[in-house]
């Protein structure tokens, strides 16, 4: 059992209702920004304004000690807490549960939280040099430009960095390639015109990305090698396991799925992206378009029967790989399909669904006419809320935790299924 699961078991699944008067905060502060809810639902927090250029974070009615000129990117992290970027005297740092990191910089952004919430990273800039900081440890090497910073679950970090200066509008220098991947701050050897979508394998030992090698040639990088095949374009690759890399590639005007530099799926698509691999590695799914303008999901190269006219936004597997849910938009309404079956909710918005480990329970927040609802296995179990955070399904799959604001009161509600 992983740490995340252990933690979920220790949460309170018995207290049916916990309430916190959230709207009341507005009488205490000049203004209150958008709420965030802790992973376990026990705490609600928001950035609040105390005075001119004086901000802090209020958690369950208590404010963090420090006052700051600016606070942003308030995010739930582990230990039922929150982290945010905070500035004082025009310098920035990360603040975790009211405690500042020791490192301060000229700017900090791109909050990265490991899936279990225990590791925190961000991009930073000091004196016009760029790097990544993880758990208050900044990269030793800094670069004049940096994009696409990512962090693996174990805190390994990487980003695309510029390793050679370019004069303004110097298209010749660009053509030679001035960008490479830096892993934990150390720049790798190969330079490219462009690098996008850095991906790690499960243990962060292997790294992959999409690259452009000349004006119209794209490739896939797997560790220090570029695949031999070249393509018209590529999207984010994904590791099936440590030795197996998958990547959507465009060739002959169509999109194909390649595995370790060779065709993998037989079908070609008008679009193929967002590779999603079931945790056990047995299923590979992707959002696909075929024919042109129709959107659906392919699992192991088998296309769902249903397709939609606008978009599939994201897809999610259950931990055991038995269930796949897709958030899609069709004829101006958002909806959810679970294992090919549409729920027909016709919502104004569908948020990220949560799925029980065995795939038997799917819970999702939807918005209709300005009100939030919680829908579990197609059944509306709560409605009339003005805000809801993503729900949590109990480890045994018998309960769902609702986290929402109703009539100005934050409610943590345990709903039996």
């Amino acid at each position: 059992m992983n740490r995340k699961m252990e933690e979920k078991r220790s949460w309170d699944w018995h207290t049916e209702l916990t309430e916190i008067a959230f709207e009341e905060w507005k009488t205490r502060f000049n203004w209150v920004q958008a709420p965030r809810v802790s992973m376990d639902g026990e705490r609600i927090a928001a950035v609040v304004n105390l005075d001119e250029m004086a901000f802090t974070v209020c958690v369950n009615g208590d404010v963090w000690e420090g006052e700051y000129e600016k606070v942003w990117s308030l995010t739930p992290v582990s230990e039922n807490g929150f982290a945010a970027f905070a500035a004082r005297d025009e310098e920035w740092t990360m603040n975790v549960n009211g405690t500042e990191w020791s490192n301060w910089c000229d700017f900090i952004w791109n909050m990265m939280v490991s899936p279990d919430g225990t590791r925190l990273g961000a991009a930073f800039q000091t004196d016009s040099e760029y790097g990544v900081i993880v758990d208050d440890v900044p990269w030793e090497d800094r670069y004049e430009n940096m994009t696409g910073a990512v962090m693996a679950p174990d805190g390994t970090s990487a980003a695309v960095v510029q390793v050679e200066s370019m004069a303004a509008a110097d298209v010749d220098a660009f053509k030679k390639g001035v960008f490479c991947v830096a892993r934990n701050g150390k720049a790798m050897d190969r330079r490219f015109l462009n690098i996008w979508d850095i991906s790690f394998d499960a243990d962060a030992r292997n790294i992959a990305c999409g690259v452009r090698t000349d004006r119209e040639t794209y490739g896939i990088v797997q560790n220090n090698s570029v695949w031999d095949n070249r393509f018209e374009s590529v999207w984010k690759p994904a590791f099936l396991d440590a030795d197996t890399l998958l990547a959507p590639v465009r060739s002959g005007g169509k999109w194909h799925l390649y595995k370790n530099d060779a065709p993998f799926w037989a079908n070609a698509y008008d679009q193929l992206w967002h590779l999603t691999i079931s945790p056990d590695g047995s299923q590979v799914a992707a959002i696909v378009s075929s024919p042109f303008g129709r959107w659906t999901v392919a699992v192991n190269d088998r296309v769902w029967q249903q397709s939609w006219d606008t978009m599939v936004a994201d897809i999610h597997f259950s931990a055991d790989g038995s269930c796949l849910a897709a958030v899609y938009k069709h004829k101006e309404f958002w909806d959810l399909a679970v294992d090919e079956t549409p729920w027909h909710m016709a919502a104004d918005m569908v948020f990220v669904p949560r799925i029980s480990k065995d795939g038997s329970v799917v819970a999702v927040v939807v918005e209709k006419q300005g009100q939030y609802q919680l829908v579990v296995n197609k059944r509306v179990v709560a409605s009339g809320y003005r805000f809801m955070a993503e729900p949590v399904i109990s480890p045994d799959g018998t309960k769902v935790m609702l986290k929402g604001i109703e009539n100005g009161i934050y409610k943590r509600k345990i709903i039996g299924l």
Binding site: S73, E216, M349
Partner: protein
């Protein structure tokens, strides 16, 4: 300055200067690219594009054109250059893609140098000529096809290529770094709090009704426009957000250089940012080509027949704010104004009547330019022409004489240009032809005239 026959005279005799400049102007990116080319590569690339990337549409256009010349009157370049037949849209086709087709790709470097010039500098891909063609032949499409070939041959003009390079690295067109973007938004928020003490520019707010997106010149040079929009959003009580991540810039110069792959990547990032934030719709600032990118070209490269999110151009959004009473006008703007209809949101989207309604709600004295609405002349900067940079400004001004005449004839004191490229190009024209006009975005006037009070439903 205007002569008696209503034809503009060039104040600095720049026609001759520009001709001279044109003869000796060398674009290092074009010249270096041409130098690298071999006849084999030229032939292979042209034939690859013509055979693999075109279809019945191109065939129909090629086979249908009767060389009737009706397209000529539609073209600002033709009209600005004393009806020189070289500038007829049909001639531009004849002198570029037609020759490539007839000669099966066996064309010279000198031919390609001219093809780059015609397709990138002597056509705004404004599609006005398509309206005047009896068969509706879309010559802009053909010019974009030429640009696609130039892209693959690596002979795209330097400055616009640098813009595309920026897009490819940062997903914005002006090398704006991630921290600079966020810092600018926070700076504008801070400034705007002097006017509205609790104003916020909410970053990454999940589930907001609206994602507001701009193009990179706003954080780079015109941050006040973000301020103005924030003031409007706040006053109107809109639930909105702006993304802190790449995907915030809706511009797309790759669309105009024929780098369809980067163009598609930009559009993907844009719509996926909206999807990640779970917003209901996207409102975009006053930019025309960006609208074309997300409404027509970039989306379709990705297999989105229509944009996956409703994209509301600023013109339509202002109309909504005013007609719903979310923003009221305290006192109408007094000066005599005229309105330039940007090609991509007028001919391309039909927003011209809404634009006029907004102008009339905001301004007391509006005079239309002639022609107008979908028949309006292009600003002369659009289609990536101004993005080819300072080396070509002189000849651009010569090629914009027709537009200068159209503007001067209005007698307006203020020109409203609700598009960034139009705005920059028209500003050049006003200065060059000494037109004695101010130029403004419509948002400038909205902000200037609006009641600075907070909207209360039912009040």
């Amino acid at each position: 300055m205007q002569s008696q026959d209503n034809t503009m005279t060039d104040p600095s005799n720049e026609t001759k200067q520009a001709e001279k400049a044109k003869q000796k102007a060398t674009d290092p990116a074009i010249e270096a690219g041409l130098e690298r080319l071999t006849p084999e590569r030229i032939k292979k690339t042209i034939n690859q594009v013509l055979e693999k990337e075109t279809g019945p549409r191109f065939k129909a256009y090629v086979e249908t054109c009767m060389r009737c010349g009706l397209c000529a009157e539609a073209c600002s370049y033709f009209l600005s250059n004393d009806r020189d037949p070289r500038f007829m849209p049909a001639a531009k086709v004849k002198n570029t893609i037609w020759e490539m087709l007839v000669k099966k790709g066996e064309v010279s470097r000198d031919f390609l140098r001219e093809a780059v010039r015609i397709s990138h500098l002597e056509c705004n891909v404004c599609k006005r000529c398509a309206m005047y063609c009896p068969f509706g032949i879309d010559i802009a499409y053909m010019m974009l096809l030429v640009r696609r070939i130039c892209h693959k041959l690596e002979i795209t003009p330097q400055y616009i290529q640098d813009t595309v390079n920026s897009h490819s690295v940062t997903l914005n067109q002006m090398w704006v770094k991630d921290d600079e973007w966020i810092d600018t938004l926070q700076w504008q928020e801070e400034d705007a709090r002097e006017e509205f003490e609790d104003l916020q520019i909410p970053l990454d707010k999940m589930g907001a009704d609206i994602m507001y997106s701009v193009i990179a010149p706003e954080p780079k040079f015109q941050a006040g426009l973000i301020y103005q929009t924030a003031a409007m959003m706040h006053a109107a009580g809109i639930d909105w957000t702006m993304p802190s991540t790449p995907g915030w810039d809706n511009s797309n110069m790759a669309m105009y250089t024929g780098d369809n792959e980067i163009s598609g990547r930009i559009a993907k990032a844009f719509f996926e940012t909206a999807a990640k934030l779970r917003v209901k719709r996207i409102v975009m600032g006053e930019c025309g080509h960006a609208f074309r990118s997300v409404y027509d070209m970039g989306n379709r490269w990705n297999s989105w027949v229509m944009p996956p999110f409703e994209v509301v151009h600023a013109l339509a959004f202002y109309h909504e704010l005013l007609t719903e009473g979310r923003i009221t006008i305290a006192e109408k703007y007094k000066k005599k104004v005229t309105l330039h209809d940007p090609c991509n949101v007028s001919r391309g989207r039909g927003l011209h009547d809404k634009a006029r309604e907004v102008v009339n709600m905001v301004c007391e004295d509006f005079v239309d330019m002639v022609p107008n609405r979908e028949h309006n002349f292009c600003c002369g900067a659009g289609g990536g022409v101004i993005n080819c940079g300072p080396p070509y400004k002189g000849e651009r001004m010569v090629n914009n004489r027709n537009k200068a005449e159209q503007l001067a004839a209005t007698g307006a004191e203020v020109l409203i240009a609700p598009c960034h490229n139009c705005h920059s190009g028209l500003e050049d024209i006003i200065q060059h032809y000494d037109l004695k006009m101010e130029i403004k975005f419509l948002g400038d006037l909205m902000y200037e005239t609006m009641e600075k009070k907070i909207y209360k439903p039912g009040a």
